[in-house]
Subunit: 330 residues, 4 copies
């Protein structure tokens, strides 16, 4: 259903002349190489899933040794984002934070130094929406298209190709982005113009954090009031207290299987959330810059900050349940 040649798109947007005929050459239907920049815990399994789907991968990472395994699996490793940009006209970036994204795109060996016109750039890092918009502008000047596509789900979901991608950018590019993202995730959701993917992720994660702490407080209170946690969970999940943290990621050990609470709060996608506090910091700073009151979001942020200060930085974010419980022995 995707056009054979992306150039057909140019017919639809005459006003953007600088992203013009050069785009004709971006390949889509055939499985031409895909660039992948950022081979961390998330990037590796994501790139592996693209490989499995038959896409040749041209990758790079600031720490070359990160790419060893991927190389053994058939990927080509290059020295810098610029070199990747020379060889691929679809590039995915998956980096820890805004400065890394800035470096990978606009740094001295960055993508934009050698980018081909018409290239599709998809950034799956979690960064400030305003930085995403900045990158989109810089890319557009070089005749490329930038989309933000941060993910929901952690290392486990990445391995199983069950991530959710929240995508922002020109709607007419969504199909092209989805072709690749669909190999790495179960849901690829269009959220609006560039930056919207990040904005939606910030919103989702803030509500997630609130729901998780709320669930932990509620379960703890119920247990103190003498309730059986499994029974309480069952009823909550049939009632208006229901939320993802209660029905899919319950923080109380023994209530659900195959979640971090069943494994001493190890693993899980929350590790990142906790260790970096990144997403709630973004919620906080975008709320401050838009003068939006977020009392619970803000308190959730502070609670996770405090947990990090108290030694919980490397546990899953559902360990808030453990944090709130009375210690057995002093």
């Amino acid at each position: 259903m995707a056009a054979l040649f992306r150039g057909s798109r140019t017919l639809l947007q005459k006003s953007k002349d600088h992203v013009s005929l050069a785009m004709v050459c971006r390949s889509m239907a055939s499985k031409t190489p895909v660039g992948f920049i950022g081979l961390g815990n998330m990037g590796i399994p994501m790139a592996q899933n693209l490989l499995k789907s038959g896409y040749p991968i041209i990758a790079t990472d600031a720490f070359p040794e990160s790419g060893k395994e991927l190389q053994d699996q058939g990927a080509q490793l290059l020295d810098s984002p610029a070199e990747v940009a020379e060889k691929a006209d679809r590039i995915i970036t998956m980096l820890p934070s805004s400065p890394n994204v800035l470096e990978a795109y606009t740094g001295p060996n960055g993508i934009l130094k050698k980018i081909k016109k018409g290239t599709l750039l998809i950034d799956s890092s979690t960064i400030d929406p305003s930085v995403a918009r900045e990158m989109a502008l810089a890319s557009e000047k070089m005749g490329a298209v930038f989309m933000d596509a941060p993910v929901s789900g952690g290392v486990g979901a990445a391995s199983l190709a069950r991530l959710t991608f929240m995508v922002g950018g020109p709607e007419e590019e969504f199909t092209a982005a989805k072709e690749l993202l669909g190999c790495m995730g179960a849901n690829v959701l269009y959220c609006g113009q560039v930056g919207a993917g990040q904005a939606v992720k910030i919103c989702n994660n803030m509500l997630l954090a609130i729901g998780m702490i709320g669930t932990a407080e509620t379960m703890n209170l119920g247990i103190r009031l003498g309730l059986d946690p499994k029974l309480l969970t069952q009823v909550l999940n049939m009632s208006s207290g229901r939320c993802w943290s209660s029905d899919s990621y319950n923080p109380v050990p023994g209530v659900m299987e195959a979640v971090p609470s069943a494994n001493n709060y190890l693993g899980g996608f929350g590790t990142t959330l906790m260790a970096k506090g990144l997403d709630l910091g973004l919620a906080q700073s975008t709320a401050t810059s838009t003068s939006t009151p977020i009392p619970l979001g803000s308190l959730a942020h502070q609670i996770y900050r405090t947990m990090c200060a108290r030694g919980y930085a490397n546990k899953d974010f559902s360990s808030i349940f453990q944090f709130l419980r009375e210690e057995e022995v002093q």
Copy 2:
């Protein structure tokens, strides 16, 4: 499926001799009269649904005029709970708060003054679990069985017989309770020993309040960041931010139909929650008495308190979205 005569139950619990043979006479299979005490906004439609299911109703209320309509529909109105207890061996109470419950059960014209042995007492009021346990003890001394069965859902759900009942009490009485409660609700959930219904309701409503305020903050932040509220809702509901307030009772006008936010925050079951602040007060006081930290629950309580002080007492609890938004004109 219910035993013809409840007396058969006594075989199962020899240890409770005082609730013994007298119970043989409590009727169940045939539709003998059911007592109903408390004819407020919730009590009226609940009693009407019992009537519709074929149960004769013997009712009373502190304000006799409240029962007028019900009387026209065939219910018998008496002057006091004691008189109701004389004539019915299954009694439902639906009262505003603990003092009313104390009065209705143990007051000078209260149920226990004239209660028949073996009577099944079901209290659907929302009260402190410890008061429920106190009533259960007092009832047991009179040879009666007390169960707490607070509801989730408001006037609308009550009218449509779509309430959720959270039931606490002896498990062997649950079938008997469910026979009646099932006529008034869509879900009748067993939660544990007496008081457990209240405890679960407190827990559910605390998590609900947190989820609602969290959803309102999140939607407001998303809108400020330029997102379309319908699209944002869609993505949240497919992601880990999902909760009942986002997918079934969205607080943003225009996102869903047939919810209070679509109707200027009128109607809805939240009115009670807001006007009385009752349930969060119970969460707070049970948390205090059990030394349980509930940071978000506590802040949610304070936010609703503040809203009541600022003129929102009669709006639905989803009006938190309106409360947090910038006023158009000063």
Copy 3:
């Protein structure tokens, strides 16, 4: 300046006939025995200071061995509050919480069982104002006068007779109360009718807790921003951020001497506050029952609850600074 015989007071309040001529016999000017009930960490030094001021002490405690040292210093030990009430017409109670106060006054061996008309009862425990009013009513029925006089300050202040007493009760009895309280404290403050002492203490301690956590957050933030904590403290104390926690009880080690932060958060009057969470629980419950929004007070309560759950129950309440700081090693 005090009347020789308190009976002269009856001239002033003819309306309270039941507290009438019998009061003539309550001695004041001479140092007649004073009853003291409750010989805990606070009660002992308080009673000792009365002894030092020349008042014979007749004491009792639920744990008789608590009174050993006091007995060696000259106090008479009796078996129950009732026996104390038989022998003294001025009685001070200093007990852990409401149930103990109820027991000591209205229990089977309670004060009111043997109280003499005209007795002056001063309760320095920290309890709910409504319990204080209840005790006052019960005492009045027996012809006695009850005043609430909770203290500010801890064991150290008690030893040095530098407590602050917040007194509620009939204004015309204040002089009589002050005569005794002045031997144990540096400030004896009249706060209003009975219960007002408790209400003021609840208010003071809520604001204290907020101020302490606020000071700890502020100092921690300042240090993270590169400020010198001593210099920061100096400037705060000359500015609008100044509060008792910043200028008299600074929570940062090294800033002040002779405060718990200089001693690994040991000692200090906060121990009780932290261990029992008592006072903030009272703030919370009185706020709930009066529908008063206390967002910061409530969060302060939750933070101290969480600290207790995390092993801080026996440290001074200024250890919130330590709790918020990044741990050195994980």
Copy 4:
């Protein structure tokens, strides 16, 4: 005690050669002209106080009409910061926020375009400490010295020359800065290296906001519990609940005179705080960037955000008391 010529200072800091002999010419002892940039509600009275102290003023503002009155009083008005920098070697800036400061210093007509070597730049705006450090670096490159000196106190204090200045910058320049700042304020406090003035102000205002909301909650709770607000204030101020908001700026109408609460929350220095939410936003963002937990500070921020959304943006920040009180009529 100040050196006649500042050049003597260069002997002390040979390592900073680029801020060298040129500084010899900055005048100090005699009352040479002082530049003043930013003639808003605060800037005007500050400049007037310098005039009163005998300093010729050379001023400018983005809105020239702002300077009319000052001109009538003898100040010279110029068109841009650059022109001011040409004529004065001591310049004070008092601007609304970071972008204005950036513009005034580094903009196309900014100070640094025409600055003379050795010029002393004092910025009394309230901005992010990192922006202050950035300005200091840029100034240093031009051979000038930049100090941050944000103020505590509002329009009233500015008029009466009773501001408090919190000063950051090279300690050896403090005397020179104090000479001018002392004409406009009652306290001039040295806080540390450049940026420290801002950091201290952020800290002070965060603690101030917490103290004010805490005081409002406490006074409201006390009143609900039946206490007399004046009596409650008196006792708090003698006890550990004491803070600047309780003893110097009480938010309850009728308790103190000559504070905004006595005047329907008009006037007062809080207006700015409330209207811009500026300072708490800075606390929030510096806390986020330094991973510092500030639970109460953060909630205070959110409460003021909510108040602004509810129509309180132009009232004094002590109007939090009014905001929390029950409305008379719904």
